[in-house]
Symmetry: C2
Subunit: 225 residues, 2 copies
Amino acid sequence: MHQFQYQYEYPHPAVSTDIVIFTIQDEQLKVLLIRRLSEPFKDGWALPGGFVGIDEDLEQAALRELQEETGITGVYLEQLYTFGRPERDPRERVITVAYYSLVPIDRLSLGAGSDARALGWFDCEALPELAFDHQKIVSKAKQRLTAKLDYSTIALQFMPSKFTLSELQRVYEIIHGGPLDKRNFRKRIQAYDCMEDTGEVRRNGSHRPARLYTLKSPGQVEIVK
Amino acid sequence: MHQFQYQYEYPHPAVSTDIVIFTIQDEQLKVLLIRRLSEPFKDGWALPGGFVGIDEDLEQAALRELQEETGITGVYLEQLYTFGRPERDPRERVITVAYYSLVPIDRLSLGAGSDARALGWFDCEALPELAFDHQKIVSKAKQRLTAKLDYSTIALQFMPSKFTLSELQRVYEIIHGGPLDKRNFRKRIQAYDCMEDTGEVRRNGSHRPARLYTLKSPGQVEIVK
DNA sequence: GCAGCTTAGTGTATTTAGTACACTAAAAGC
DNA sequence: GCTTTTAGTGTACTAAATACACTAAGCTGC
């Protein structure tokens, strides 16, 4: 019987990571949730995440859990906050290091191998009851995202490889929570000097087609303003 | 023999808190360090901090360690970042949740009960070698502090209960790392509308005395701009 | 007691950044 | 070819940030 083979002189908490994945879909800011397969909160919705391996870096653990539970890979994670209220998990003391990330609209294939019933994108404004203190984690992540909208280029992480300026403006409006002036918006984006005209256009209905832009350095977003 | 009485089915890391306490002294931004009494890094300098109790809140643990190791109480802590590189502690896996705080110039009595050889204030620009990854923690804290100077009233936390505007300006200049225009600075501070004239003055040499100001709500600093 | 030194305290003009706002361009549908 | 729909563009105004220089008050030393 190897059930309790790890022994310590002092009590140790468990450490986990939880990941808030945002995307924009159907004109809404959405969060990726998974259905819990076990107690506690069995069959309830929760953030993807899990325990950190004893020799595993925190961010690495978050990336691994994300891959295992959702199939998502290759995202840029940013540490959000560490939640450690003693009663936040009924099983044992669990301290969780929360991360968040933004994935582009076109990359949110919850692809092959993922059980459709076990995963879902939920509108931030209409989340179901969440397990543990995950509601708090999502709130904090949303707050951080909203704040960063004003002084960084974080929102560009939502964009697919080619996009129109109107699409980008919609993304800003959805996060910001209100309409933006088209000319002022374009002036601001232009000042960032971080995207270029592909020369291509998108035809999209019975009206003038829109120019397609692409990020100059897709990885290196986040420049402050 | 109770040496390994805590047993778990899976390996658990240890969790600690470390606290970066800033103050301004001798025209320098200083950090509070303690001398380590035990291995590893015995006799080396380190941040105050220690292990989190199994039923203890993270912030509570930080406050307790701070009290125990430095005698400092009643400060407002803000969570900074969680450091978890697997090799950051040679003994075992230790994940540390770092906090930071600013203490007023006049409150930095490392008072009664503290061993003078075991505690020291160090200029941020001339830190000794630090234990573990504490150098990284201090860097991140300083970076956060510098950033917050521009969009919050965080620096007011450095001020004693009564202070002059020139003293406040010096504090800003020290953190900012360069001179500020006196009139523009005063205009900015006035706009915060968070301090009031006590009516008293400070005589301080062979020149015109300066008015003493006090914070309107000493706790509630941090209003963003 | 006044001349000289030192820091405290004050306002305005200029520049820059942000905001408000309305028309023309291009394609598709009829 | 006319209507509809979204794309794309510039300027005038307002607010915020910056640059900048003198007077006020107390102390010191003669």
